[in-house]
Symmetry: C2
Amino acid sequence: MAAEMAEQPAVLAALAGRRAEVVEHVRACLPEPLAGVMLVARGSSDYAAVYGRYLLEVHAGVPGALASPSVATHYRSRLDLSDTLVVSVSQSGATEEIVATQQWARDCGAATIAVANAADSPLVASADLALVTSAGPELAVPATKTYLTQLAAMCVLGTALAPEPTALDDDLTRAADEVERLLASALGVDAAVAVLRDAEHVVVSGRGLLMGTALETALKLEETCLRPVRGYSYADLRHGPMSVVTSGVTAVLVAAKDGPLLAALVEIARDLGDRGATTVGIGGDEAFAQACAVHVPGPDLVEPVAPLGMMVPAQLVVERLARELGLDPDNPRGLAKVTRTDPTDDWKGTTE
Amino acid sequence: MAAEMAEQPAVLAALAGRRAEVVEHVRACLPEPLAGVMLVARGSSDYAAVYGRYLLEVHAGVPGALASPSVATHYRSRLDLSDTLVVSVSQSGATEEIVATQQWARDCGAATIAVANAADSPLVASADLALVTSAGPELAVPATKTYLTQLAAMCVLGTALAPEPTALDDDLTRAADEVERLLASALGVDAAVAVLRDAEHVVVSGRGLLMGTALETALKLEETCLRPVRGYSYADLRHGPMSVVTSGVTAVLVAAKDGPLLAALVEIARDLGDRGATTVGIGGDEAFAQACAVHVPGPDLVEPVAPLGMMVPAQLVVERLARELGLDPDNPRGLAKVTRTDPTDDWKGTTE
């Protein structure tokens, strides 16, 4: 896991270097008119898709949706997707339900783009366009460099779909530098590990462009450290589950250094502290750092690309925490690199 | 809570009686062509919307999406929603972010339908069409009868948007009878309460048309009984968190008596049991009942309308569990009936 984390600046820079070419390819395969984008993914890839959905709506002004694969694989529903771009995201490009859902989308008339790390994969082979993230083989079960390149792919997609030129391109190059800087500094990581080591209940919260980061951080903490961890938008947290927050809870909050949600994240950090929770803040600004019990500095990147840098301190925390707990961060118990969400082939039935 | 649960057959039957008229109104306000439906909600209403989204895609063949309110309220993004129907769901019709998101959708060109229980509410006042669920005042904080009528409203919407006549109408009338029968029988409820009373970690799982039921059951268990409870699709559970399932876990599974996901739910019940988890099954068929350690019978309703009946045994479990734990099911600590997801008004800023 640590070795693959260290490769992230290089694979990110390589993808950023190919962006102009990829943007042209994406634009050439868009439906005209484009009604919206549907993203198809599961697990970490799904959280990259959550980021992609916000980026497309906020940055490119295109409505997004996250597909429910069972609608394709089990219910075999027939939707008119002729004005829709369907983007499937899978590290291996081999997850059966994602491949099947992409095929279903093509049958429903959609234009399809596969975002996969493995060029030689069924997802890539059967898409209209493949955006291969080329991060090299990932051997540790927890996705790190492939996740970061999936986020970068979402940025390239955002650039391609935006009606006007944007600053996202330059920011993507800066992101690689920030990832390198954060990997080297590891500031605040040990303090965060010390708090999380003894935590009973852990929740992770963020919102908007950083929502995917919160969900991915929760999943990584849960899978790698074998503890149940929940990820929420702060709005969902306030809407109900806040009532179960007491002194037994450790709350990890992720925030960009700017953007329209930062003030509210400072506020929820204070409120969680007032309820007796121990707060671990990643990123944000000075006020956010002050409002959290433990603070891990984040990237110096504007909110739209902040997730690319923000995941690095979270990875460092997860990796060290796993070792601290005597676990192997590379091979958490009971997980496989290519997952089957339906162990039997019942749902395949006859092909349509 | 118990008193309002008892009113459910009557309010459901009343709504079913108005369905033909409502279907006509909905059809009259649809954009032509209709590209898709965006649902706007939070909390329990959001889980009714999750059901609505599956129902629309599976039953009516219309692409659905769940809105991210921050795109409207904080990022103030401008999307072209002129071919989109936006359905906002809120019991009170007064949740500020939902009202603001509906207004944003109108500004983006969408046709808007408000599903609310309070006729005299800002959400109803500012929608193109109001589908008032008329369940009467709900005094207990946990939504019960208003949630069930929201599900019924989703059925009416599904009928209105389906290109051809369907059996959903008749099934809706039968649902009221099944709700009444299940309220009276309460079979298996005490056994489920006995297991959950001593549970350390609780997860709830389902999928597809019953996914919203799984999420709502998790939320109710968490809010009413003040325990952290997570809801997952079984596919997401298998994709990763399954690795943290051991003998300390109690898994509540919800399944319809039929449908393409039932076999997989029987299978995950067995797998969870093999991992040492205590399984509580609600609904399903004979094989599902056999595969679970404790079984609570569900409604005799086909999968598309099963959620309307399925929530009743779950409500009975939650209500009795709360009392068993010495808590007041009507007034869980720290929750308000109308929630503010952003305590300050910062995000309101200038109107657009």
